[in-house]
């Protein structure tokens, strides 16, 4: 197991290193100069040079990159050019909102997927299957911005029972009941696609498992179908489902940008949009790197969990 981890870790680090340099270089190659954005069109050459030196833009690219890495290591993320304030604080504030949203959506998706796929397989009823399959296709086919609008129209405009957007005014801890109201629509909207994809995968995986010979062995022993699904098939389908969950998490991160825009949810998505349109280098870099880092970490984590769940990888080698 440790060996497996040691084999997997370097490639994750390489991806991260290359991505960090790529992001750094890309941001600098973008047309549009932050100096003119900051100094204004009429600034004197001296004033421009001062700003340039201040931002460290007069040094060679590699030097700037190494300086940046050093700062990252010290968690010194710099100051935002445009928005003002410490990048660290801006990111931290946005991150809380985004994490609450994506994690809630992820949990929703997992619960829905588990319940509906197990139901579909255990009941094995034509009508239940047809209904689930229909709902599933629809949920996958409806783009996030469509469901978002429909949800707002239905529950905030036509039936004004839930807020149309924004974060709970008192935070998430003080009044969880109100927080839940604010969270419900965006989380459902975000979870819908991932939940449907996950359900589809898990149902198919369970059906495949039920065709395996070990299930026939278990049935021949007089173990009921329901128990086989719950204690054996599900356990066998778990490793591959975890991998799919990791991939879906990436989709959720991307979808969060959109959902945050639809529901005016002040998270990292809005921040990154704002940072890019304002050519706010320090902020853009950190946000892009953060998204890659999260994604790479999730991939690594799912790989490890996958390996851990599968005794053939965990223990290895036939005797």
């Amino acid at each position: 197991m440790t060996r497996y981890l040691l084999r997997r870790l370097p490639s994750a680090l390489v991806v991260l290193a290359v991505a960090s340099f790529g992001i750094f270089a890309l941001v600098r190659l973008v047309p549009g100069d932050p100096v003119s954005t900051l100094a204004g069109p009429d600034a004197s050459p001296e004033a421009r040079a001062a700003i340039r030196a201040d931002l460290g833009l007069d040094q060679p690219l590699l030097g700037q990159y190494l300086t940046w890495l050093g700062q990252l290591a010290r968690l010194d993320l710099g100051t935002s050019y445009r928005i003002g304030g410490q990048v660290k604080d801006l990111v931290a504030d946005g991150a809380v909102n985004t994490i609450v949203l994506t994690v809630t959506a992820l949990l929703l998706a997992v619960v829905v997927a588990l319940v509906s796929s197990v139901l579909a397989v255990v009941l094995d009823n034509r009508w239940v299957n047809a209904a689930l399959s229909f709902g599933n296709t629809l949920a996958i086919a409806l783009p996030t911005f469509v469901t978002g609008l429909v949800l707002i129209l239905l529950f905030a405009v036509v039936l004004p029972v839930l807020p149309a957007g924004g974060t709970p005014p008192d935070g998430f801890i003080a009044r969880p009941d109100i927080a839940a109201q604010y969270l419900l629509l965006p989380a459902v909207c975000l979870a819908l696609g991932a939940g449907a994809a996950l359900t589809r995968f898990l149902t198919e995986a369970l059906r495949t498992e039920l065709r395996q010979p070990y299930v026939t062995t278990a049935r021949a022993l007089g173990i009921s179908r329901r128990r086989i699904v719950l204690t054996q098939a599900l356990r066998n389908a778990l490793p591959s489902t975890v991998t799919v969950l990791g991939i879906q998490f990436g989709t959720l991160l991307g979808g969060a940008v959109l959902v945050e825009a639809i529901f005016t949810w002040p998270g990292l998505g809005g921040l990154i949009e704002e940072a890019i349109s304002g050519r706010d280098y320090p902020l853009v870099q950190v946000l892009l790197l953060l998204s890659v880092a999260v994604f790479v970490a999730v991939q690594l984590l799912t790989d490890i969990v996958h390996a851990w769940l599968d005794p053939r990888v965990r223990i290895g080698g036939a005797s």
Binding site: A19, T137, P143, T144, V146, L149, G250, V257, V292
Partner: protein
């Protein structure tokens, strides 16, 4: 052996030996999968949307950017089926023309990305060196969630249809590259390809005669899926203001306009929303039908 147990010369239709019984069922091909059930429904949905887009100049009473004097934010009526927007344009006409933008994205950008991806996948499944590099690059690109990649690329080239194109190609290239690589590798391990190798067939022969014809099916399924994703990407990017630049319409930008006027004129977004759903649903149904035909 006098009394042959397998009578090979027996006329067809004579009772075959039970278990050694050949499989008489014809394999349902991709084409027949699209002629019934889900497949047919998908093809019809796509067909309707494509027809509306292609026939836009004939069907639309006004030009896509034509401003009609005196018709500011009017509701649906005989003259303006979906009303007009805040700068006096006919929403129905704009919606029809907007389809065309999406059609370009779906039927041009995706195939371009797919073709490049397939070529890279083919090359990398044959040469280890290219493979190592391609896999790392794919890892890297796929490490960005699609929309974040879209935002980053927009920062690089600015918003516009061109950016949507780039994003779709950038997203689909690794998807097709990976898929080609795995399906080619799977087919290449098959004994019949090995058999061709043993009789002296070279790589090109194996590829052309055996590997490609037997590995295009998963690619076809993916193509349909990717096309539906492209509709989604265009919509999301335009919705975020990264897509087509005004005044040109696309389904995504029309939805964005609709949202802006949601409280005053909720009927704005109905047309483009319905069309987006129809297109995505159609493509998904086609992909499901193809995937099911492949599995059986």
């Amino acid at each position: 052996m006098s009394e042959s147990l397998i009578d090979v010369a027996a006329p067809e239709g004579a009772a075959p030996r039970p278990d050694d019984e050949p499989d008489q069922r014809r394999r349902p091909g991709a084409r027949s999968a699209l002629r019934r059930g889900k497949g047919l429904a998908g093809v019809l949905l796509i067909g309707v949307v494509v027809a509306l887009g292609l026939l836009a100049p004939l069907l639309a009473p006004y030009g896509p950017t034509e401003q009609i004097p005196g018709a500011n934010l009017v509701g649906p009526s005989g003259a303006h089926w979906l009303g007009t927007d805040e700068v006096n344009r006919d929403v129905y006409s704009r919606t029809l023309y907007g389809i065309r933008t999406d059609l370009v994205v779906v039927f041009l950008a995706v195939p371009i990305g797919a073709v490049i991806g397939i070529l890279v996948g083919l090359v990398s499944s044959w040469w280890t060196f290219t493979d190592v590099i391609a896999q790392r690059v794919f890892d890297l690109v796929l490490a960005f969630p699609t929309l974040i990649l879209a935002i980053a690329l927009t920062a690089f080239v600015g918003p516009g249809l061109r950016t949507v194109f780039f994003v779709i190609i950038a997203v689909e290239l690794p998807v097709f590259g990976r898929l080609t690589r795995t399906s080619v590798r799977t087919v290449r391990e098959m004994p019949y390809v090995e058999a061709a190798h043993v009789v002296g067939a070279g790589s090109w022969w194996q590829l052309r005669r055996h590997v490609l014809p037997n590995s295009w099916e998963p690619l076809l399924v993916q193509l349909a899926v990717s096309m539906s994703v492209a509709v989604f990407i265009e919509g999301a990017m335009s919705f975020l203001g990264l897509g087509v630049r005004p005044p040109h319409p696309s389904l995504g930008s029309l939805i964005r306009d609709g949202v802006r006027n949601m409280y005053d004129a909720p009927f704005f977004a109905v047309g483009p929303l319905a069309l987006v759903v129809a297109l995505v649903l159609g493509l998904l149904l086609v992909s499901q039908a193809l995937a099911e035909a492949r599995r059986s």
